[in-house]
Symmetry: D2
Subunit: 210 residues, 4 copies
């Protein structure tokens, strides 16, 4: 069953709250200006119809974050993944991901999405450079690419972000699980990721030299 | 005076053809499906109103290419820049840049934009990896970032692409000029670029070790 | 049986010619200055004893190249590997690799090692930037790292280099074989590589997004 | 006047202690095994003659670190540089730099050199990936490259490392100074660096998007 959050409706990265229809009478401007009715949506947030239409017209920029724990020499000692309730009600394993909002910097998008999924005291150590370790192109056509997103054509800039603080699952996130990248469990976790997120983890580990 | 091209109206990267109004009765779908009336617009091309509206709602993904000539050891021996007629009729120096269209891969966007500006026999050597040397975030608010684009919030993935063939200017491009990155003329050319494109050239040269 | 090459003794990347002893009366300076007796060793080449001693005192800088064929959009369509006779007489699959010589640039080292293994008309397209996709640290202690080199502590800067020309095996190289990175044969080839070169190919493919 | 440190003689990155001759009767093995006479040299440390000879025969692998302070979004807010006494007794501005010792990993070399120059509570945040932002090739011939090192041919892997703790100058380091990369003082500091270290700072800032 989807986890709801009536105060801060998520725009629809995983759309768990999308079926509710409670925002049908709110104009996009409410969301763009971040205002209205006590909702604390970030500026740039769009209504369901608007984002739905735009998603059929232009590629949508995303950030995708592989959260890691590192040791004192910077080596990746643990890789984090999220358990979430997907649109169809099943549980899925995924990464921290979300679209970049209008007038939001990439760094703000990374920090906002980490806070949304891992909580406010995760203390992410954002990279000094915005050079992503890879760019994943998700297409709504299954066969076109190994990255598949039925909702949209998304261009995801992928970053490895060390997490120095404590994580507590937020919103639709049921749990955050950490695993040693050299353990057998890592393979199990990767195999549970779908639509190309598994590939992104493998590329992150290759890039980090694990 | 803007250079027009009646057969292949450009969607508006520099909007030279935007004032004509001749497409007002063409629906966005015509452009999304790349069809209609003998026009050879690429699939994903959008009408003026559609792209204008979307540009106020979401960040737009771009590719920005620094064309270079390299010697037999791969060192950058020349850097290319374009002379174009800007929207206000003045001549500006810029790079090869364009937005990524719906359902278009980054590689296709790079190749298409190079062909559009440098012609079909430029023989670009696209990089083996899509890891950009930097990501430039253009905002419509002048003070927010050193990258400024009055039309939109654009997220530009920046690549250095060696050009092995011959270039002939296309469409709104008046000329393609090459300059030795170690010459004094390089500084002059960079100083003629505006809105952050100068920064991108400097970052490209730093990345290439010139 | 090792393949010998009396005219151009290889310094010992694979040391096939090292047992001969024919250079015992040639001083290191002969090699450093690239001279002497009709031999065409490159400047910086060291005698067996010298390089052997140094290898126990400092890490040795290497370049390691994954040769690829790319299509017109820059995507890796084939990955090359070499079949060589190893020191113990068995045949091994490996990459293009060699140490950087004194007073030699990285670009020269890359070009020289490609020419040594793939011939003079391989037409390698060296990268515009010297940022390696990874750095592999080989240690002479088997358990210390997944990269193992019994001869030395080597620090290998790893590059993917597209090959545009024709290859003909040189020196100790018996054959150059190309394989589609998406084919099953790729896995077979990778599994035949040892001492960490398999890892480097995997990291190259992850970096190239294959 | 050079700053001496009798307890932990530095091998000679800046050779302040090299003129003393007090180690003439210590064999290289003492240093390779890190032992002897109460000295706490790291394993792999070489005697003056040994390292001097090797420096004329092979390129020497180095790490070069640009220390930075970052804000909570990972942006570089300050760049650190060191004031040191050079071999000829003058004061020079430089970065954290040192060679990689035999059997030492790059991460250990980065951590050791930061501790050597900035102290034990600097709390450096080493990068998750060993992909350097650039590789600087120093040659002993002034005209060959913009990176010049009269002692040797050095291949320096360059990293930006955020410093989270407190710095206190160590050994030959007189002071550690921090400057806002957007301030005018940054240009002054860069202009005070010589032999190519200025270039490395510029490349670091370009890579970090400052």
């Amino acid at each position: 069953m989807p986890v709801m959050n009536d105060e801060v409706p998520d725009e629809g990265d995983y759309d768990a709250g999308r079926a509710r229809g409670e925002f049908d009478n709110i104009t996009p401007e409410d969301f763009i200006h971040g205002g209205g009715s006590g909702h604390s949506n970030p500026p740039g947030w769009l209504g369901r119809e608007d984002i739905g239409r735009i998603r059929r017209q232009v590629p949508i920029p995303y950030v995708e974050i592989v959260p890691v724990r590192t040791d004192d020499l910077g080596r990746v000692s643990q890789v984090g993944s999220l358990l979430r309730v997907s649109e169809n009600g099943s549980i899925e394993r995924t990464l921290v991901t979300g679209r970049v909002l209008f007038h939001e910097t990439l760094r703000e998008a990374i920090a906002r999405n980490i806070a949304k999924d891992l909580g406010d005291i995760a203390l992410p150590l954002l990279p000094a450079s915005l050079q992503p370790f890879t760019v994943a192109e998700f297409f709504p056509t299954p066969s076109l690419s190994e990255y598949y997103d039925p909702r949209q054509h998304a261009i995801a800039l992928c970053f490895v972000v060390p997490i120095a603080g404590d994580c507590k699952p937020q919103d639709e996130t049921l749990d955050v699980e950490w695993v040693d990248p050299k353990s057998e469990l890592m393979e199990t976790f990767i195999s549970q990721m779908t639509n190309g997120h598994d590939r992104i983890v493998r590329q992150a580990l290759a890039w980090a030299g694990v």
